[in-house]
């Protein structure tokens, strides 16, 4: 899984629109204390192996969620970053060490305000990877 996280992180390289919009603040699982807004966090919701007849694990079925946070009053900033996020990751081809990437498709999205009245945009992706 470490390779998958690394490839997701690498996909958001310094030249991309998403990187510029969030100023490189893309974190795995949780953001450090006191991180400036806006920022993005991604984490593994679930990872299920799909076994073949020989009981090997050739394919991993992973659910990855991205959360974009913004402290602005309006939802403009968070939706703008979300647009850049989906432009980057929808059906993208990840380069993952020890795995072949099969697909990365978006399965759901949700815009809401969290407990601190900050905007949060969540997108869930299903990533299928095959062990080489």
């Amino acid at each position: 899984m470490e390779d998958l996280f690394k490839s997701i992180y690498d996909e958001c390289g310094s030249g991309t629109d998403l990187y510029i919009a969030i100023n490189g603040r893309l974190f795995l699982s949780e953001a450090p204390q006191g991180t400036e807004f806006p920022y993005c966090v991604f984490f593994l919701v679930s990872g299920v192996p799909i076994y073949d007849l020989n009981e090997n694990i050739p394919v991993e079925d992973c659910l990855i969620q991205f959360n974009v946070y913004s402290d602005k009053n309006g939802a403009g900033e968070v939706t703008n970053i979300y647009e850049k996020l989906i432009a980057l990751y929808d059906w993208c081809t990840l380069t993952i060490a020890h795995y072949d990437h099969i697909s990365m498709n978006r399965e759901g999205q949700m815009l809401m305000k969290d407990e601190d009245n900050r905007w949060q945009y969540s997108a869930t992706y299903r990533v299928l990877i095959e062990k080489t």
Binding site: E30, A31, V45, S46, V48, Q65, Y69, D114
Partner: protein, 121 residues
């Protein structure tokens, strides 16, 4: 001339009953798994407004399933009026990292769900 009796209505009624039972079975599988995965807090807080009260395990106890009217789908539900924070636990917030329990419960039991459906139908 032969006469055939058509039991279509009875057949459809029976199929609907079986489908509803299958959905109940699926709901039970996911509910059980979600309850196992659900985090349990340690803080107990009583008094004051009801939304400020906390009892360890209340989120876990709030997990339930409901077969929708028509018997076409089953909903797995977590949280209620008091346990409003279910979505914060599932999705995460800017202060707390997520501890998803509903989606993993479905993902982990996909094969069991399919088997349950096949067995019942």
């Amino acid at each position: 001339m032969q006469h055939y009796k058509w039991f279509g209505k009875e057949l459809i009624r029976e199929l609907k009953k079986v489908r509803r039972e299958a959905l109940r079975g699926i709901g039970g599988i996911v509910k059980k798994s979600a309850k196992q995965l659900c985090p349990i807090g340690k803080i107990k807080r009583t008094g004051g407004k009801y939304w400020k009260e906390r009892k360890p395990g209340s989120l876990q106890r709030s997990i339930r399933y409901k077969v929708m009217r028509g018997g076409h789908k089953v909903q797995i539900i977590a949280g209620n009026k008091k346990v409003f924070y279910a979505r914060f636990v599932e999705i995460g917030t800017n202060k707390t990292s997520p501890k998803s329990f509903l989606r993993p419960a479905i993902e982990m039991n996909k094969t069991r769900i399919m088997a349950e459906f096949k067995n019942r139908l």
